[in-house]
Structures are given as C-alpha cells and as structure tokens.
C-alpha cells in the first residue's frame, strides 16, 4: 500500500469511522462523497457501531502476494448494529467453523507485509465476540 494513502485513511481503518448523509440519514462505510440513496453531497463523519452479524462470506484460497501465511482466509459482509454493511476479513476463525449469522466485533489487525522492511498496515477486521 502507498504510504500516503494508508495515512489518509488511517482513521477509517483504526476506528471504523464512516459518514452519514445529513439529508436522508443513511450511513456509509467506507465514507462516500455522494449519498447513494438521495444524491446529497452533504455528508458528515460518523463513528460506526463495532458489533454486527456476518451476513455473507467467502473463503479465499487464491490470494495476492504476501498472503501465503494466512491462506485460506475468510472475507465477509458484516451488517453492523445500525444496518451499515462492511466488507472485511473475518479473523481468528477456522474456515470450517465460520457461519452466516455469527456475531462478530471489530478488531484492528495487521495486513500481510508486502515488502521486507516496509511500512506495516493496520486495518479493521472482525472476529467472533469474546466473553
């Protein structure tokens, strides 16, 4: 990942900050420039709920360079408590135990390192709820 792009998006990545349409109230993640429901360009930053439910998922066996250590891994759509859907990796689960409908929560994890000695990228993922 390009350093400047990572730096610009770090608050979305670390804190699950999206935005909300000031006209119709719909929330988005990642943040959008234009509301896809009403076309408004008046969007305000908003912190999203950190818990949700796994709606759909897929298991990735054929992955990009650098992901050899984590294959196979799960990528899913998580519906947060306020209805916003987020595409993210589901971590700390075995491929055979992941289920649609499972309760998950936000965790910040690192992405596989693409370049030896390069920057480490941390980003949002979801894992089963603890406790």
């Amino acid at each position: 990942m390009v350093t400047s792009a990572y730096w610009r998006t770090r608050l979305h990545r670390y804190r699950l900050v999206g935005n909300r349409c000031a006209v119709c109230g719909k929330a988005f993640f990642p943040p959008r420039l234009v509301c896809s429901y009403c076309g408004s360009t008046k969007l305000e930053e908003c912190k999203l709920p950190e818990r949700g439910r796994l709606v759909e998922y897929t298991v990735v066996y054929s992955a990009p360079k650098g992901y050899d250590v984590v294959v196979p891994y799960v990528v899913g759509i998580v519906e947060l408590e306020n209805g916003v859907r987020v595409v993210a990796q589901i971590t700390d689960v075995d491929v055979n135990e992941v289920k649609e409908g499972m309760e998950v929560e936000l965790t910040i994890r690192k992405l596989p390192e693409q370049l030896e000695g390069g920057m480490i990228c941390y980003t949002y993922k979801f894992r089963p709820v603890i406790g």
């Binding site: 608050l11 250590v69 971590t91 075995d94 910040i108 994890r109 690192k110 480490i120 993922k125 406790g131």
Partner: protein, 348 residues
C-alpha cells in the same frame, strides 16, 4: 515511592491471542521428555497480530471499564520488547487507534519484562502531579524463543492496559506506594538486529529474578509499614509456574494468595504482559478492601513493586469488558508446523 496525591486504576483490560501450542507438542518436536515442562501451553499471536494489535485490544477494553472518552487520556505508554518497528513508536499507533490523538503524550518503554510496570510508575507520577488527568500504561509482548531453546516452551503473547487517575469514586484500586529495585545484572539480553535473545540459564534464578523480586517487595513493605500477612493477593512476574510460588515462599506469602493471579500455565510467559495480566486476573475476583501486592521483574535487571487497595467501583466495572478467564477459555490449539508458520520461523 508515594505520590503526594492518591492515584488509582480506573480501568483495565487485557488481550490474549486465541492460538495455543502445548509445550508437550514443542517437546515432541525437539525430542525432550514431557515431565517437568515449565507451563502447560502458551498463547501464540496469529499471523495478523503483533504487540501493537494486542495493545490496541487491551487498551480498548481498559477504556470501556474506565468509562472515559479516549480523547481525555493525556498519556499513552506502551511497554514492550517486541516492537514491530525498531524505530517508530508503538504508542503513536495505539494512541491513534483508540482515539487519544493528537493532544497526548506518547512513548514506548523498554525494560525486558517490566516495561509495563515502568510505565505504571511514570503514569502515577504524571497523574499525581496534575500534569495529566488520565494516563494509560500498557505492557505487551509477542515473545519469541530460539527454536529448541528452553525459552521456546514459555515465550508467549499477550498484554494488559491500565488507566490511572486521581483517587475518586471511579477508582478500582488505588496505589498505596511503589518501590523499584534495579541493578546491572546480565541474565538475559537481545542485541540490536538479533532475532532471539540469549539467557544465562540457572543464573536467571537467584541473583536475577529472586533477588530483585524479593528485595523490591520487602523494601516496599518496609516503606509502607506493611507485613506479608497484610496482603490478600500477590502477583509476580511469571516466567514459569515455579518462580512466582518460590518468590512467595521467600516472602512468607502462602500459595493461595498467588494462585488467583497465576496464569502462565495456560498462556506462557507474556513478558511485559505477564504481571499485568496477573493483576487483571486478581482484579476480576477481588473484593473492595482487598490489598494486592504486584511485583514485576525485568531482566537486566530490576523489579517494580506496588501495593494496591481495591475500591468499591470494581464491583460495577469488572463486567464491562471480558475478564481474564474469558481469554483463558477461548483457545484454538495449533501444532508446531502452524506455530512455525504463524511466528515466521519458516524461510520462504
């Protein structure tokens, strides 16, 4: 050392990765006998975890228990010897992730396994002096032992985060005093650029761990006018299951007061996280009025000893985040080959 104004813990949180390797599995690979293994199993950071991600998890739970806004935190200290970057602080990433930036003091502490309690001392001083309202001290490690070395059986991953503030009705446990005992003792080291540490075998016991742990604890008690029997719980650094119990014997503290905070048989030695996870395990079960002795140990060498007195707020706050027991029962066992892959021990 006693702060002029009373300071206490207002929130705490821990995190232990889900993966475990049994020491019997490590012994199988290296042809060692199964009797007398130092711990049952150890926690292993997953391929997407490091000291920073574990610190963030623990810090988020600590904030939840404290019930404060993250931007009210005036200092974020991360104590670790497993920094993902040799140069670039962990604390900036953690502070940014939890929402404490940009008006915050942030730094990393390093003192082998006592980096976290070193951060306690600094946090207590900053809070007591009124320089900050809230200070967060984190101890975390993803320790690595050289394959087949004795340390490989215990070097685990995990961490704890504690938030300090002046004593109030929000206080979970206040600090009666602390004492640090430090000498130049070469029992364990890792040179810059080296992947694995060296340790001096038996030398790590008497002149290192026991001398510093016992002296710090005894000096603290002398300074506060307390006796071993005044403590309801004692938490020590946990490089294995035997050392903390032996240190307690030297101090005349019975085993029952040590066992509630003794977690190393299930997660291994989490280095900077070790005594802090032990303290959290005790706070999970302690009653208001209980007095807790905490003594860390860091090679090189030194110990920080603290006396905490538990307050009423513990009863309401302990259930706001997962307890240590939740992390001990959450486990996925992996074999040595998966462990080698996760911990980057396979050259590709």
């Amino acid at each position: 050392m006693r702060p002029d104004d009373d300071v206490g813990i207002i929130g705490y949180g821990v995190y232990v990765p889900v993966y475990r390797i049994r020491t019997a599995e490590i012994a199988r690979v290296w042809g060692k006998l199964n009797d007398d293994l130092p711990v049952e199993e150890k926690a292993v950071a997953g391929p997407d975890e490091d000291a920073v991600t574990i610190a963030i998890e623990a810090a988020r739970y600590a904030i939840r228990r404290a019930g404060i806004r993250p931007d009210e935190i005036g200092a974020v200290y991360v104590g670790t010897e497993s920094k993902p970057y040799a140069v670039k602080p962990c604390s900036t990433i953690v502070a940014e992730a939890i929402g404490a930036t940009p008006n915050v003091l942030a730094a990393d502490y390093e003192f082998a396994c006592k980096a976290g309690t070193e951060a306690f001392q600094a946090s207590i001083g900053l809070v007591a002096s009124g320089m900050v309202e809230y200070a967060m001290a984190i101890g975390v490690d993803t320790a690595q032992g050289r394959p087949a070395d004795a340390l490989e059986y215990t070097a685990g991953s995990g961490g704890g985060a504690f938030i300090f503030a002046k004593k109030s009705h929000e206080t979970i446990a206040y600090v009666e005093g602390s004492y640090s005992f430090v000498t130049d003792t070469p029992d364990f080291w890792r040179r810059d650029g080296d992947r694995y540490p060296y340790h001096m075998g038996r030398f790590t016991g008497e002149p290192a761990y026991f001398r510093h742990t016992v002296m710090a604890a005894k000096s603290l008690m002398a300074e506060l006018g307390l006796r071993p029997s005044d403590f309801d719980y004692a938490v020590f650094h946990q490089p294995n299951c035997k050392f903390p119990l032996k240190a307690a014997r030297y101090l005349g503290i019975p085993e029952e007061k040590v066992k509630p905070g003794l977690v190393c048989s299930m997660i291994g030695n989490t280095y900077s996280g070790s005594s802090m996870i032990g303290l959290a395990a005790v706070l999970d079960v302690a009653k208001p009025g209980d007095r807790i002795l905490l003594v860390s140990y860091g090679s090189g060498a030194g110990s920080d000893a603290f006396s905490f007195v538990v307050q009423d707020a513990i009863e309401e706050k302990r259930d706001r985040a997962p307890k240590v027991s939740a992390f001990l029962s959450r486990r996925k066992e992996i074999d040595y080959s998966m462990y080698a892959k996760f911990r980057n021990k396979i050259l590709m």
